[in-house]
């Protein structure tokens, strides 16, 4: 990270830290653990739904039904819990700004998250354009399988990076 960027990050963290909301979270010791539990429950829905979609692309799961049906069943549970994750994530950042924003594990997690969301959107578009994307043609099937494996690895790494925030602090 460049020195200027690092400096402005310090300023932002110091500013968040002295806001009344941050101070309130810092002195109320049940807020962070409770918010973390909700955060993990929402991640459970997202990661498991993404896994079901990825396993369908790999044809390990539900190959008897169209990929489109599996996607429309599970995609809402990848996208909607994001609101809960964003909200609970923001509360944790406000409560401990330097511990999160300046943390390499947190920064990695955000980069991985953006990549995973892009991969999810790409899968959504590909299957919408060609419902047989994961099922017909060796090249398409290979591509679908590669995307699925990448997606599973990304979500696993996001969860790992999330846990490592606590150890880099």
């Amino acid at each position: 990270m460049t020195p200027t960027l690092n400096k402005s990050l310090n300023v932002i963290c110091a500013w968040i830290d002295q806001t009344p909301l941050s101070q309130a979270i810092q002195v109320t010791n049940w807020v962070v653990p409770t918010v973390q539990a909700v955060h993990i429950a929402a991640i459970a829905l997202v990661a498991s739904s993404a896994l079901m979609i990825d396993l369908r692309l790999l044809r390990v799961f539900g190959a008897d039904q169209p990929a489109k049906a599996v996607l429309s069943r599970f995609l809402p549970f990848v996208w909607w819990p994001m609101i809960v994750l964003l909200a609970t994530g923001v509360i944790m950042i406000v409560g401990e700004p330097a511990r999160s924003l300046k943390n390499p594990a947190f920064q990695l997690k955000m980069a991985l998250l953006i990549t995973a969301l892009i991969v999810t959107a790409v899968v959504q578009l590909l299957v919408r354009r060609n419902p047989k994307f994961a099922d017909k043609g060796a090249r398409r099937r290979g591509a679908a399988a590669a995307i699925a494996v990448a997606s599973m690895l990304l979500w696993a790494c996001i969860i790992f990076a999330g846990r490592w925030i606590a150890y880099y602090a």
């Binding site: 409770t34 539990a37 993990i40 429950a41 896994l51 079901m52 069943r73 599970f74 846990r163």
Partner: protein, 164 residues
């Protein structure tokens, strides 16, 4: 007490002391534990939401359980193994921790709820399993399961915040 002696013995085993003394072993095992729990709770939620009648309504309940539950069990085995390893590294203190004890009770309750559903709840599944609307007993089983698993996560986090 017998059990306290057993815990002291467990904590002194080479594997347990290695986990306790190594800088990165505990976080790595813990990361796998969290990943496994996330998959346990997430995949169970998929079934619970179907039982409550809010999601996957186009898929028969028994088909959905057949699709999803093998992954739940696989993840549960990983969670149990990693959880036991974490426990062994500080067994005497975990055993006396309120949240750890609570988490075990919640796991037993979740297991009982599941057993009850598989013994009684699925008896007449032939009459409602393919329908979008589910009976009250199925809704109750799904709701109780969802609540218990969210509490399992909450108590798990509680352990982390009270142990160090």
């Amino acid at each position: 007490m017998e059990i306290d002696r057993a815990l002291v013995w467990l904590q002194a085993t080479p594997l347990a002391t290695t986990i306790a003394e190594n800088d990165v072993l505990f976080p790595w095992i813990e990361s796998v534990h969290v990943l496994a729990i996330v998959l346990v709770v997430g995949t169970i939620s998929i079934v619970d939401l179907r039982l409550i009648g809010v999601a996957s309504l186009d898929r028969a309940v028994s088909r959905l359980m057949h699709d999803v539950l093998p992954f739940t069990w696989g993840a549960f085995v990983v969670a149990a193994i990693t959880g036991s390893l974490l426990f062994s590294s500080n067994a005497t203190n975990y055993a006396h921790n309120f949240f750890f004890r609570g988490k075990l009770v919640l796991l037993v309750l979740a297991g009982l709820n599941m057993a009850l559903f598989h013994l009684i709840g699925v008896r007449d599944i032939g009459t409602w399993g393919t329908k979008r609307k589910t009976p009250l007993a199925a809704k109750a089983a799904g709701g109780v399961s969802l609540l218990l698993w969210i509490l399992v996560i909450g108590f798990g986090r509680g352990i982390g915040f009270t142990m160090h």
